[in-house]
Assembly symmetry: C2
Homo-oligomer: 173 residues x 2
């Protein structure tokens, strides 16, 4: 295996088959449920996860069967589709990144053998899992003042999929 090549360690199962109808962020769809089917050899690595309430899923956000072009470095975030404004890709969370790795905070519902059930779905069905890391409050909550850039100006409503966001009039996100 060449040095910077990744392994697929599992597959995520969700109710969403089209990217345009998949919620854009796990935190905006907290009650949507999904599951991860780990490749059987990796099930042993789940020992102890049941003591955590939340976890990070690192996912692969690009097709597996094609080379990928360099994405544009300035893009319009999905959440700003109704009033387009471009930001640098490192100031947003969109999927078309130099390395298309997704980061989703999910709530754990149960571990059963090689299957992990969770709530908080922003992945299309069949998404490949690269890593799962336990959420540790001691490491993952910021200290001091927190400002979240353009996110702080977004009113999060029921429109949480790319196609819903595109249909919204410009003054309602």
């Amino acid at each position: 295996m060449s040095p910077l090549q990744l392994r697929i360690i599992g597959t995520i199962r969700t109710p969403y088959t089209s990217l345009d109808d998949t919620p854009v962020q796990a935190g905006l769809n907290p009650d949507g449920e999904g599951s991860i089917e780990f490749e059987p050899p990796y099930a042993e690595g789940l020992d102890g996860l049941e003591e955590f309430t939340h976890a990070w899923l690192l996912t692969w956000l690009a097709p597996l069967d094609a080379d990928r072009p360099e994405p544009g470095l300035r893009q319009v975030p999905f959440l700003l589709r109704s009033k387009p404004r471009q930001f640098g890709i490192f100031a947003m969370r969109g999927p078309r990144r130099p390395n298309p790795i997704g980061l989703s905070l999910v709530r754990l519902l149960g571990v059963d053998g090689a299957t992990v059930r969770f709530a908080g779905v922003d992945m299309v069905d069949g998404t490949s899992l690269l890593d799962l890391k336990p959420y540790a409050e001691q490491l993952d909550s910021p200290k001091g003042e927190v400002r979240s850039g353009w996110f702080d100006g977004v009113t999060f409503g029921d429109a949480i999929t790319p196609s819903q966001l595109a249909r919204r009039p410009p003054d309602i996100i």
Copy 2:
């Protein structure tokens, strides 16, 4: 570029040259400062990042010049070195993972061209950067009760590097 191959988009500069003397988690070394030198073509992607106080760094935790073996799926976390107990790799944050991708929450100090300065260092000097994502409170803070497994039983003291943790007597972490 083959589908699951990663690009190195920048290099992290820190005061730490040996992994054994590098703090084990960014959140445990909140005042240590480092910087990221982005590859020049990617500097454009930083537009808007200055409006965020915190960011996630996704890093490559393995050597770049060698194939890597499959890591053990049960390991002893660095933080438990003084009273060894094994956990599954997906219930801990250690670097020897099926996909050796690190996730560090850092506090942003400034963006200047292709350089990003930050506080909260848990990387050895020269670590390769795979992605930088802005921290968005709306997406990255868990809802409901939070339990962080074995982390909740660790008293975080001044011993934050692997070599310090190895020297500690069994009853003090």
